[in-house]
Amino acid sequence: MASDERQPEPFNRSPRVLVVEDDPDSASSLTELLSCLGLESTVARNGEEALWKACEFLPDVVLLDLGLPVRDGYQVARILRQNPDSSTALIVAVTGQPEDSARAYQMGIDIHLAKPVDAGTLRSILMDYQREFSG
């Protein structure tokens, strides 16, 4: 969960979710679920795109695939944390490697979900987050 020192301002809208995923099918299935849950989302296909989209889209939540080409998810997470536009975002890592969890937490990742993602768990994470910060 987001740690106390990084509490974002409460907002009166749905959280914006940035989906960072290189596999188009996975990205689509996530954005469809998010739109079904009433959340606004956008997709970044790689680390570079994720970094500039974070500045443009100002996400509240980042769903981050850790197995990205070129710049991996850990590096993206570290840079997102340093960037003022995304430093308070809830970063949820999605990965096929369960043993990466220790490193994920070190890099500022709040929640670690192993693939296959249990949509029920993801839904409750997002709903809890929305409840917590919607004022």
Partner: protein, 348 residues
């Protein structure tokens, strides 16, 4: 074998040379009449197994030299002095042939294993999409979904979860066998371990209308020595298995009690159809799965139980199964108690 593989090269060479010399001495003592060259193959194969082709070649050359010396020392006469050298060279060729063939098989097997891991690993993404897709359709349907449709969704999701467990156990087992799964043993809170494991399977059990009973017969603060993540997976594996084989409306009990001094015994008891007696000791064996499927309605539990056994044994525990046909199965395993205070886990 794993212990040997971790030793430095020079120790492995020393061991290989030592074994070759022992064979050489025996060759010398038994005299020239008794054929002995096949025994040189043992240290050579061990060399290939532990060090690859180069190790095999070096021990092969050494083996041929020792064989040659043993033959010179025991031979009385030969029609030509070069015959012994010729025989030594022929022997060395045979040793090389065995080395190269064995190494080729080993490499082939390694590649197949890597390919299998790669393919199995890649199953996770599409499976993830299926699960997310099912959930999305379910949410889209909202209150308009009838009970039958909900049941269908839940069954489909439960099958996806089972498939995910199967994938995990294949990959975990490969990692365990290739020595890539390193255990991080520390003091772990028993209560935390049991709660996390039960939480992970709670939804599945609920969908199947199975009651999960938790019975801790030890103090709440009890700590055990284990790798937290791996121990949780063992429990999740055993509970998942139990859920799979227990009919709706029945219950599964996870109990923990003191056992031998310094040891806790965990028990996962289901009310499923049980395991025939002759299979009780074999369900943990990797290859018995195939046989089990062929002989009767035992059902496959994937490689989960094999993984559990390897994990528990690597943590100084034991695992066993007790079952009566038709009266459920109880799987027990032990883990050592810890005298140290519990180490907080960042992963919780």
């Amino acid at each position: 074998m794993d212990f040997l593989r971790k030793q430095p090269r020079f120790i492995l060479y020393a061991l290989g040379f030592f074994l070759v010399i022992i064979v050489g001495v025996l060759d010398f003592l038994t005299g020239p009449d008794l054929a002995f060259s096949v025994f040189y193959l043992f240290p050579i194969l061990l060399g290939v197994f532990l060090m690859g082709r180069r190790g095999g070649v070096i021990i092969s050359i050494f083996g041929a030299i020792v064989w040659y010396l043993a033959d010179i020392l025991t031979s009385t006469s030969h029609t030509h002095p070069a015959i012994l050298a010729w025989n030594a060279i022929v022997n060395m060729m045979i040793f090389f042939l065995v080395t190269f063939t064995f190494e080729a098989f080993r490499q082939q097997r390694k590649k197949q294993e890597e390919l299998m891991q790669f393919i199995v690993h890649d199953l996770r993404s599409p499976l993830s999409n299926v699960m997310i897709g099912l959930k999305t359709i379910e949410i889209m349907g909202g209150d308009g979904l009838g009970d039958a449709q909900k049941r269908t969704f839940n069954r489909a999701l439960a099958s996806c979860r089972w498939m995910s467990t199967l994938i995990d156990s294949i990959l975990d087992l490969s990692r365990m066998e290739s020595g890539h799964l390193h255990l991080k043993v520390s003091s772990v809170s028993l209560r935390d371990l049991v709660d996390v494991a039960l939480q992970q399977v709670a939804m599945w059990a609920e969908h199947n209308s199975i009651e999960l009973v938790r019975r801790l017969e030890v103090e709440d603060q009890t700590a055990i020595r284990a790798d937290r993540e791996v121990a949780v997976r063992v429990l999740v594996n055993l509970l998942s298995n139990a859920i799979k084989f227990t009919p709706s409306g029945k219950s599964i009990t996870l109990s923990v009690a003191r056992h031998e001094p310094g040891e806790l015994v965990f028990c996962v008891a289901d009310q499923g159809r049980g395991v025939p007696k002759e299979w009780a000791s074999r369900v943990f064996d990797k290859y018995s799965q195939v046989e089990a499927r062929n002989v009767g309605p035992l059902g496959s539990s994937g490689l989960g139980l094999t993984f559990c056994r390897m994990c528990i044994e690597a943590q100084q525990g034991r695992i066993w199964l007790e079952s009566k046909d038709g009266q459920g199965t109880r799987i027990f395993f032990t883990l050592p108690l810890s005298a140290q205070p519990v180490v907080e886990s960042s992963g919780s």
